[in-house]
């Protein structure tokens, strides 16, 4: 199924959803996420695989990107959620897809997005006591080697 056809199907069910300009992505309001995802998985589209979760730091906002894949129908969907950069928090998808567990931990680790009701909200790639979120655009490299005092 082509992305536009998938979008039409989603639009019929969830009118608040809109297509992002310039890409094939579908943008969904934060509040509808869980409901939409349950429908995506159990509905006719059959997105049984949460393939990838990531984020893009757009400075004023953070785009949370979910990529879904349907094993039976072999189509792919990019779902975006615009989050406020100051306090990015969103419902976790871990109850629906188990793969979301580690993907969301990684996204939290690198972008600082808080996933509500996540079963294991720890960092994953960086050390557990790491400060700050490395893939944010305003991330300042920690000064590992202090400058010699003259």
């Amino acid at each position: 199924m082509r992305p536009s056809e998938i979008f039409d199907l989603i639009k019929a069910e969830f009118p608040e959803v809109r297509a992002e300009e310039g890409t094939d992505a579908v943008v969904c309001p934060k509040e509808d996420l869980l409901k939409l995802c349950r429908w995506l998985k159990n509905g006719s589209l059959g997105f049984d695989d949460l393939h990838c979760v990531t984020a893009i730091d757009r400075k004023e906002r953070i785009d949370l990107v979910h990529i879904f894949y349907s094993t039976s129908q072999k189509h792919i969907l990019t779902l975006k959620i615009y989050l406020d950069a100051k306090d990015p928090s969103v419902e976790s998808l871990a109850p629906i897809w188990r793969s979301a567990d580690w993907f969301e931990r990684e996204t939290y680790d690198l972008f600082g997005i808080t996933f509500l009701h996540h079963p294991d909200p720890r960092r994953i790639l960086n050390p557990y006591d790491w400060k700050d979120y490395p893939l944010r655009k305003d991330y300042a490299n920690p000064n590992f080697i202090p400058k010699p005092r003259l």
Binding site: D49, I67, T78, E106, L135
Partner: protein
């Protein structure tokens, strides 16, 4: 109350205590630097928590400070046993972003190189799996012996043996040298014989069967739910291979099968890899016969400035589906580059699989999942 207390203490006269062991980061069979924190009751695993990140180099951040061409060598260091496949995935993503055409000869060469590297990677995979089961080093060395032949071919083509940096945006680094097709044909003939040797030595070995049959069974639903891909998913009996489902390059011109497993246990995962080597040999054989003439090298500039936009491209890595998600803002460097490494989700399922099994089974299952930490930690 006192009675129940004394009864409790009576019961507790002989009792076992759970204990914690740290497998790794320095451990012979964690395939790199992975730490598994295991809670054990005697030999039985109660719980297992992986700790990652010992190889974390923040590739994705590095990418934001490199031009598109400069990042190709970094992709070599993701899944370092299958560098060509990583190069391929990245370059295809950038090409899609640039809407660039690739010469036909370059596409054939890419297929040949990717499949040869898949064979090399699977050889290590099955060798290391047998090593994890305690067949001390012999199958591993056999794997290395046959991989060496592939490395010699790669060495002749691009001068490198591990990190190739061979596939470039819009083509490949260089054409095949004179007489190489003969060498590859010889290798195919050799490998077809050797793969039967592996079958004889390992596949139906009673001990290997006892160790890996019905160990770590991954049902279809769980596998998909955890986003497992590649041979591990196919071992569970799901026919999903991007080379067939959404053929990229020229894969649609070749005949090959997608080997499937039945139960999704450790043995099936091993067996699927052995069969995939056979299929890859078939693809290489067909590709080398149909290799069209022309110049496969890239004519593109070194600095690429794609239009602002986003692409996500998946390719079939030896370990599963490798995805690159690139966001461009029109400048010479990616605005955001996300690497979706297959091993990352393949490892995530481990705690689920090992619960209630023996220590030896952790190693067996970890070996059968065939992970590469370079790609997990990135």
């Amino acid at each position: 109350m006192e009675d129940s207390l004394s009864a409790q203490s009576m019961k507790k006269d002989i009792y076992t205590e759970e204990f914690l062991i740290n497998m790794g980061p320095q451990h012979p069979s964690t395939h790199g630097v992975l730490s598994l924190e295991c809670r054990l009751d005697g030999e039985i695993v109660m719980d297992c928590t992986p700790h990652l990140g010992y190889l974390h180099r923040s590739m994705e951040k590095i990418a934001e400070n490199r031009t598109y061409t400069q990042f190709i060598p970094f992709t070599d260091r993701l899944d370092y046993v299958a560098s060509i496949n990583n190069n391929l995935g990245y370059c295809m993503t950038v090409e899609k972003l640039l809407k660039m055409e690739v010469p036909e000869r370059a596409q054939y060469i890419r297929v040949i190189m990717a499949e040869l590297n898949r064979i090399a990677s699977h050889l290590i995979g099955i060798g290391a799996f047998a090593q994890d089961l305690g067949a001390f080093a012999t199958p591993l060395f056999y794997g290395f012996r046959d991989r060496e032949k592939i490395l010699e071919i790669f060495d002749e083509i691009c001068g490198n043996r591990l990190t190739y940096n061979y596939i470039r945006i819009g083509g490949v680094q260089s054409d095949f040298p004179e007489g190489l097709d003969k060498k590859i044909n010889e290798f195919i003939k050799y490998m077809k014989l050797k793969i039967d040797d592996y079958d004889q030595l390992l596949t139906n070995n009673a001990i290997l069967l006892a160790r890996s049959k019905n160990i770590g069974c991954l049902s279809k639903e769980v596998a998909i739910n955890y986003s497992i891909t590649g041979p591990n998913l196919r071992a569970s009996g799901i026919r999903r291979d991007i080379r067939k489902d959404a053929p990229y390059l020229v894969y649609d011109r070749f005949e090959f099968d997608v080997p499937l497993g039945a139960n999704g246990d450790a043995w099936d995962r091993y067996k699927v890899r052995v069969e995939e080597i056979r299929q890859s040999l078939r693809i290489v054989e067909q590709a080398i016969h149909a290799l069209p003439p022309g110049n496969p090298t890239s004519k593109a500039n070194r600095i690429h400035k794609p239009q602002a936009g986003e692409v996500y491209v998946r390719t079939e890595n030896p370990r599963g589906e490798l995805g690159f998600y690139i966001v461009s803002d029109g400048s010479a460097t990616p605005y955001r580059l996300k690497i979706r490494g297959p091993s990352f989700s393949n490892l995530a399922v481990l705690p689920e699989l090992v619960k209630g099994l023996k220590i030896a089974d952790i190693i067996c299952i970890l070996g059968s999942l065939d992970i590469v930490l370079g790609e997990i930690d990135r």
